[in-house]
Structures are given as structure tokens and as C-alpha cells.
């Protein structure tokens, strides 16, 4: 008896399949090429991850290219997130968010804004009279509340927030696409 490497015999056929899986109906097509979900992940995962990364980078680059829009959106988002309240600070917080939004959107220098400061630029950029009127009212109510110790008059805190938000969104619809 000689000792050596065991060689595989050529020819002949392999065993039958006897598992019940043989009774499951299959359909032909390219989908059958990849029979296991593992293959789908192995083949589809890397390109999906690449394009996901590409999309994230594109979003980041867009933000970096237009910081004013990002700041305007963030201010509007913060304005929407405020909880309406009868407490003294609510009206001034709301006014501060609205000012931050308008400052970012109109590229105005930092500092306290009054409605008079923004009315001209808003008109010049095509914001309609109704929206300007709503903004004027929000500014007036918030500023009056400051002198009245925080009490909001004429509107409920929820109505005031809703009006501020609607005005901000109307401005955004006009100016957001114009950049």
C-alpha cells in the first residue's frame, strides 16, 4: 500500500435531493441567479451604501454652500417647536425666533429687528401685502406683550404662534425658491 495524496475521481453523478424543498414551486428568471438573501446583501449592499453616502455628502455640501437657508430653516423649525403658553417669556421667545428667521432669510445684520426694518426688504422681494400685514400684527402683539409684562392681548398664544408660523412659511414660499 502506497501513501499519497487522495485524488478525486472524475465522472459519475452526484446524489439525489430528497429534502422537501424539492416540492416548492420555483420560477425561472434572473432572480434565481442569487438564491440567498446573503448574496443580495453582498452584491447590493456596497453600491447602496456608496449612493447613500453620496446623498449625505450632497446634502452636507448644499448646506455648507447656503448657510443662510439652513439658519432660516432651523429658526422656523424652532418657532414651530415652541409650546404656546401664557407665561411672560413666550411672546418674546416667539418674536426672537421670528426675528432670527427673517434676519437669516433677508441677510440682515445682527441686532434687534423691528417690523419697520424688514418691511421694505420684504416688499422689495415680492412678499404679498397680506403676509406683511400678518407679520406686522405678530410683531405688534409680541412687542406689546413685552411692555404688558408678557400678557398677550387680542390673540391666544396658540393663535399668535400659528399666525407667526403661517407668515414665516408664506415668506419662505416666496423667498425660499428665489435664492
Amino acid at each position: 500500500m502506497t501513501h499519497g495524496e487522495l485524488e478525486s475521481a472524475e465522472g459519475g453523478i452526484a446524489h439525489n435531493y430528497e429534502d422537501d424543498d424539492a416540492l416548492v414551486d420555483h420560477h425561472p428568471g434572473l432572480g434565481r441567479l442569487v438564491s440567498s438573501p446573503l448574496w443580495v446583501v453582498a452584491l447590493g449592499g456596497p453600491p447602496a451604501a456608496y449612493f447613500g453616502l453620496l446623498a449625505l455628502l450632497a446634502i452636507r455640501r448644499r448646506r455648507e454652500a447656503d448657510p443662510a437657508t439652513v439658519a432660516a430653516h432651523a429658526a422656523l423649525h424652532e418657532l414651530a417647536a415652541l409650546t404656546p403658553s401664557v407665561e411672560a417669556g413666550f411672546a418674546s421667545s416667539l418674536l426672537e425666533k421670528l426675528r432670527a428667521y427673517l434676519r437669516a432669510r433677508l441677510d440682515l445684520p445682527p441686532g434687534a429687528l423691528t417690523f419697520a426694518d424688514v418691511e421694505g426688504p420684504l416688499r422689495a422681494r415680492g412678499v404679498d401685502a397680506d403676509t406683511r400685514q400678518d407679520l406686522r400684527q405678530v410683531f405688534a402683539v409680541c412687542e406689546a406683550a413685552r411692555y404688558a409684562g408678557g400678557a398677550v392681548s387680542g390673540l391666544t398664544p396658540a393663535e399668535l404662534q400659528s399666525k407667526a408660523l403661517e407668515s414665516g412659511r408664506a415668506v419662505e414660499r416666496t423667498l425660499g425658491g428665489a435664492r
Binding site: N16, D25, H27, L30, L43, P46, Y50
Partner: protein, 269 residues
């Protein structure tokens, strides 16, 4: 008219139309077929073994016909039963069907090669095929599973390098990216071609023991070759005319054979 109806009723009673098998009947038939196949492998009497393989094949066929099951393993088992009973034509036909449903199954590939080696007819590859075999060696020499694995590796490498290039373009040399991308593309094409070929509508197999290939679609035409075609010859059917099929051999020669001598790979899928 009454006579015709009566005859038809009688015919239906004697040969009831095949009813679809339920899951339990299918399982029982499958177990019977596997039992016959195993028993055939254990007997020392060749005639008994032949009968048992035939019996197994009949049951697998019933599962396909009456059960309506289209499964690579079932076609493969049927191919094995035909292979063992010496019917290499139907063995190749059913391995090809199994391959169309499961191109990555290495057992199907192995048994198909064994059946091809056992058939009578041999055809030389045309010159262009030999050139292609040399140029596209990875397609012809590597198994489907290996190509799929390599595709996953090179594709992952390509996309990782491409992602890295988004952040550090100077760290990823273009040739490395191009090499991985090129290899992944070549392997993808190879795998896709395999899928397309497995689904080739025109693929057929000679199932008659001998089939006289003729120059035209009638018995009055002269034979196309000095020998008849034998079971297992793989052809492409270019056209069907009446009871005749216009076929093409792998070496490019064309001929006509009777329809009954050929079965299409895709017909049962």
C-alpha cells in the same frame, strides 16, 4: 351525436383528466420516487434496477405534470433517474431545466457534464468559440458560484475605493479603482450572460434514441449528415414548420428534424 357523447364519457371514465396533486399526495409521490431510486441503487439485477429507475422517473414526471411543481431539485432528480436508466437525452434535458432554475447548483453542473460525456454525439466548437474561450477564460473556466463570489469581492472593493475617494481623492489611485471596476463589470456581464443563456427560449435537446436530421422539412429531403443525431445532442431551434423543427448544432451546422424527436428546455418551465 349521442354516440359521440357516450364515447367521450367512457373515455373520460377510463382516463380521468389529471387532477392537481395536493401537498400530501405530492409528498407521498416524491417519497415513492426517492424510494424506487434508492432501491434501484441497491439491487444487483440490472433489469430490476432499470425498471426501478423508470418507475422513479415516472413519479418525478407526475409531480411535474400533475403537481405543477417547477423546482430545480425535482428536475435534477428526474435527470438522475434518466441518467441511471441510460436515457442521456432526457437526463441532459432535465439537468438543463434544473440549471435554468438554479444556475449556481454545482451538483446540477457536475451531473450535466457527466451526461454530456456519456452521450454519443460530439461537436467541435466553432473557431470563434475557441477564441472566445481563450479571451474570456474567467467566464468559461470558473464556476458560476466562484464568479458570483469574485463579483461580490471586486464590487465591494470598487465601491469602498469609490467611497474613500469622496473624502481622500489623493489616497485612491485611479488605476486601482479602474481595475476593481473593470473586473467587477466583466464578472457581472459573465453572470448576467449565464442567466440569459439559462433562459434561452430556443434551447432544445434531442430525446429520440436516433433522429435522422434532414436538409428540409420533410422525409423526401436527403439526410443532412452521414449519421443520425443521437439522444442528448443539444441544439438551438431556429424555426418550427408543421411537424418539423429547424435546428442548429453548436458548431453552426443546420438541419431539420421531426418535432417529436426534440424537446425544448424551456417548455416545461
Amino acid at each position: 351525436m349521442r354516440l359521440a357523447v357516450a364515447l367521450l364519457s367512457l373515455l373520460v371514465c377510463v382516463h380521468p383528466l389529471p387532477a392537481a396533486l395536493d401537498a400530501q399526495q405530492a409528498k407521498q409521490l416524491f417519497d415513492e420516487a426517492n424510494g424506487a431510486f434508492r432501491q434501484a441503487g441497491e439491487t444487483t439485477d440490472p433489469r430490476e434496477a432499470f425498471g426501478l429507475y423508470q418507475s422513479a422517473a415516472l413519479r418525478y414526471e407526475r409531480l411535474l405534470d400533475e403537481g405543477g411543481i417547477r423546482n430545480a431539485k425535482l428536475f435534477y432528480d428526474l435527470g438522475n433517474a434518466y441518467f441511471r436508466s441510460g436515457d442521456f437525452g432526457r437526463a441532459i434535458l432535465n439537468y438543463r431545466r434544473a440549471q435554468a432554475l438554479a444556475p449556481s447548483d454545482s451538483n446540477v453542473r457536475q451531473n450535466l457534464e457527466a451526461a454530456r460525456a456519456a452521450r454519443t454525439d460530439r461537436f467541435a466548437d466553432p473557431t470563434e468559440t475557441r477564441v472566445l474561450r481563450t479571451l474570456l477564460f474567467w467566464h468559461f473556466d470558473l464556476s458560476f458560484g466562484t464568479r458570483l463570489a469574485l463579483l461580490a469581492v471586486f464590487s465591494a472593493a470598487f465601491w469602498c475605493l469609490a467611497a474613500l475617494r469622496l473624502f481622500r481623492p489623493e489616497r485612491v489611485p485611479r488605476p486601482a479603482l479602474a481595475l476593481c471596476g473593470g473586473l467587477a463589470a466583466a464578472l457581472l456581464l459573465s453572470v448576467a450572460f449565464e442567466g440569459w443563456r439559462a433562459g434561452d427560449e430556443a434551447a432544445g435537446v434531442i430525446v429520440a434514441k436516433e433522429a435522422t436530421a434532414r436538409k428540409g422539412d420533410g422525409d423526401n429531403y436527403e439526410p443532412a449528415f452521414t449519421e443520425p443525431l443521437h439522444a442528448g445532442a443539444e441544439i438551438r431551434v431556429l424555426e418550427r414548420r408543421g411537424d418539423w423543427s429547424h435546428g442548429e448544432l453548436p458548431d453552426g451546422r443546420t438541419f431539420w428534424v421531426r418535432d417529436r424527436d426534440v424537446e425544448m428546455v424551456r417548455e416545461a418551465l
